[in-house]
């Protein structure tokens, strides 16, 4: 992300209504490698492909802000790998992490990993360190420390069904698990910030937050997100494209000031539920419109969405969730140009 884009992002988070509205997308391995003509595994394992694919996106869509920007990731495997989870790879598939804990009782033996040494985490840092000179020479900086959120990591370590059941059957053990994970996340964020002093944002992704109601979010989500977001940075960015209604009123209490959410909810609903305290990034249907629609479909949906919105402060126009696999160039350009035209 270059300085201008970062300043735009900060302006949005601070409540400015910009004209035209900015557009932005979370881009990562589900979309970027295939769009650029590479397999997902090549993207993960070849630093040149990783860098060139990111630069290609920037050159093709210069008006868009890509978040978090040069995201050094290994899909959902990144953080679970530090806990000893086996990562499952396919040539062109989303990687997956196998469970580590066979029962809630095994939480007692879980230890906090060292983000500087364990799993894939040193690879995450080293990849960016190797590429940092070229990234900065092109006028960009690493702006975000990135991680999956505490409930997401817990669901990979235990299994989603098992984790969500154990919230009810073994709450004390689940608190212990989330505490270990959050201690690790605080360390992992600090490690990334030490490695890249240009970082002034934290980006956490946690769809599992959307699976629980308000009371469970207050108990098992909010305190851990508060700690994970506790570092002194300007942008605290959260992704949850599962249902958000239960957690939305509490996100600012977690320190979150930017949210990318899913298509279950409208921008107007999210503004109301967050009391307009959290900047929003959304909300064109990713699969049905941005990926599978025509440019005309995209134009129509974007125009309709923006016409219906009275308060355009705290908004980055995007799709719901991250950039969907298969979203074609012409559709993305249609979104960007329509926003520019309708909101200038």
């Amino acid at each position: 992300m270059n300085d201008q884009q970062w300043n735009t992002l900060v302006s949005v988070v601070r409540g400015e209504a910009l004209r035209p509205l900015p557009t932005g997308f979370i881009i990562d391995s589900p979309w970027l490698p295939n769009w650029a003509g590479h397999t997902i595994l090549d993207y993960f394992t070849d630093e040149r492909i990783f860098l060139e694919d990111n630069f290609r996106a920037i050159r093709t869509f210069p008006e868009a802000i890509f978040l978090p920007g040069f995201w050094s990731e290994y899909g959902m495997c990144t953080e679970p790998s530090a806990f000893g989870a086996v990562s499952v790879w396919g040539e062109d598939e989303f990687p997956f992490a196998r469970k580590v804990l066979r029962s809630p009782a095994e939480i007692e033996r879980l230890e906090k990993p060292n983000p500087r040494k364990d799993g894939l985490l040193p690879f995450v840092i080293k990849r960016l360190k190797h590429l940092q000179p070229e990234i900065e020479k092109a006028g960009h900086k690493i702006r975000f420390a990135v991680a999956r959120g505490p409930l997401n990591i817990a669901s990979f370590l235990m299994g989603t069904t098992e984790f969500l059941e154990a919230i009810k059957t073994d709450p004390e053990l689940i608190h212990r698990l989330l505490a270990i994970i959050t201690d690790f996340l605080v360390d992992w964020v600090a490690c990334q910030r030490e490695s890249f002093p240009s970082i002034d944002g934290i980006f956490l992704l946690d769809d599992i937050v959307g699976f629980v109601g308000r009371r469970d979010f207050e108990a098992f989500g909010l305190p851990y997100l508060q700690r994970a977001f506790s570092a002194d940075v300007t942008v605290k960015f959260f992704h949850n494209d599962a249902p958000c209604k239960a957690s939305a009123p509490l996100l600012s209490a977690a320190g979150i000031n930017l949210l990318n959410f899913g298509i279950q909810h409208t921008l107007a609903e999210m503004k109301a539920w967050t009391n307009n305290q959290v900047a929003l990034m959304g909300n064109i249907p990713p699969r049905d419109v941005l990926a599978d629609g025509t440019p005309a479909d995209v134009t129509r949906r974007v125009a309709d969405m923006l016409k219906g919105l009275e308060d355009r402060s705290r908004l980055i126009v995007s799709c719901g969730g991250g950039m969907p696999p298969g979203a074609p160039t012409e559709n993305i350009k249609a979104l960007i140009s329509t926003v520019e035209e309708v909101t200038r």
Partner: protein, 211 residues
């Protein structure tokens, strides 16, 4: 007339011990197992489904209710077998090959069982041949395919094509679901139905079973 209100309440709040206790009492009082399902479990799970669709209960609550019904069914299954009572239908369920997500499938399994269906849950990462074998072994008439990733969705079509190639596609109904799946996708791949969520899967299964 048997009073199953305490059983229904126990299922609603996910109290497995109380649900099993209430079931045993009702059986001791002479209720037929099939009536315990239709008057006790099914209405309770239907209510959970309604609450879930309206955003008044969430996945952990649904899982706890499912857990309670599962434990009741452990008592009921042998009794149902003895009485020769048939379920609404047999559903073979699984997450398609290459996909290890199970939460959606698990919720669907729970709702279908609560709705009076017999369910064979094949788990995750299920290749087409395993679906076919299960259908043939269990004489199932409905297959449920779950996928949570856009990269694994194509395995739904692969599985449907495999049923065609095996010559048994015409004997079964295939329903699909999962976060990236849509009605139009279901139609495009030749599925017989799409369920937007676990609660909707019961109505869909009933329609497909003709019950």
């Amino acid at each position: 007339m048997h009073d199953l209100s305490s059983l229904r309440q126990a299922v609603l709040v996910g109290d497995a011990a109380a649900a099993v206790s209430a079931a045993r009492k009702a059986l001791d009082d002479g209720i037929q197992p099939v009536d315990l399902i239709s008057e006790g479990i099914s209405p309770a799970m239907a209510e959970m489904g309604r609450l879930f669709e309206e955003g008044d209960c969430f996945v952990p609550e649904l899982l706890m209710s499912a857990r309670a019904t599962k434990q009741i069914f452990q008592i009921l299954r042998p009794l149902l077998a003895q009485t020769g009572v048939k379920s609404r239908g047999h559903v073979v369920l699984g997450t398609v090959q290459g996909d290890l997500h199970d939460i959606g499938k698990n919720l669907v399994a729970a709702m279908l069982e609560g709705g009076g269906f017999e369910v064979t849950d094949l788990g995750v990462d299920v290749p087409p041949e395993k679906f076919i074998a299960a259908v043939q072994n269990k004489q199932a008439r409905i297959v449920g395919l779950s996928a949570l990733l856009t990269t694994t969705m194509p395995a739904m079509k692969t599985t449907i094509d495999a049923f065609n190639a095996a010559g048994i596609r015409g004997r079964i109904k295939i329903m699909v679901g999962g976060a990236p799946v849509t009605q139009s996708y279901a139609e495009a791949i030749g599925a017989d139905g799409y369920a937007e969520n676990a609660a909707a899967s019961v109505d869909l299964a009933r329609r497909l079973a003709g019950t």
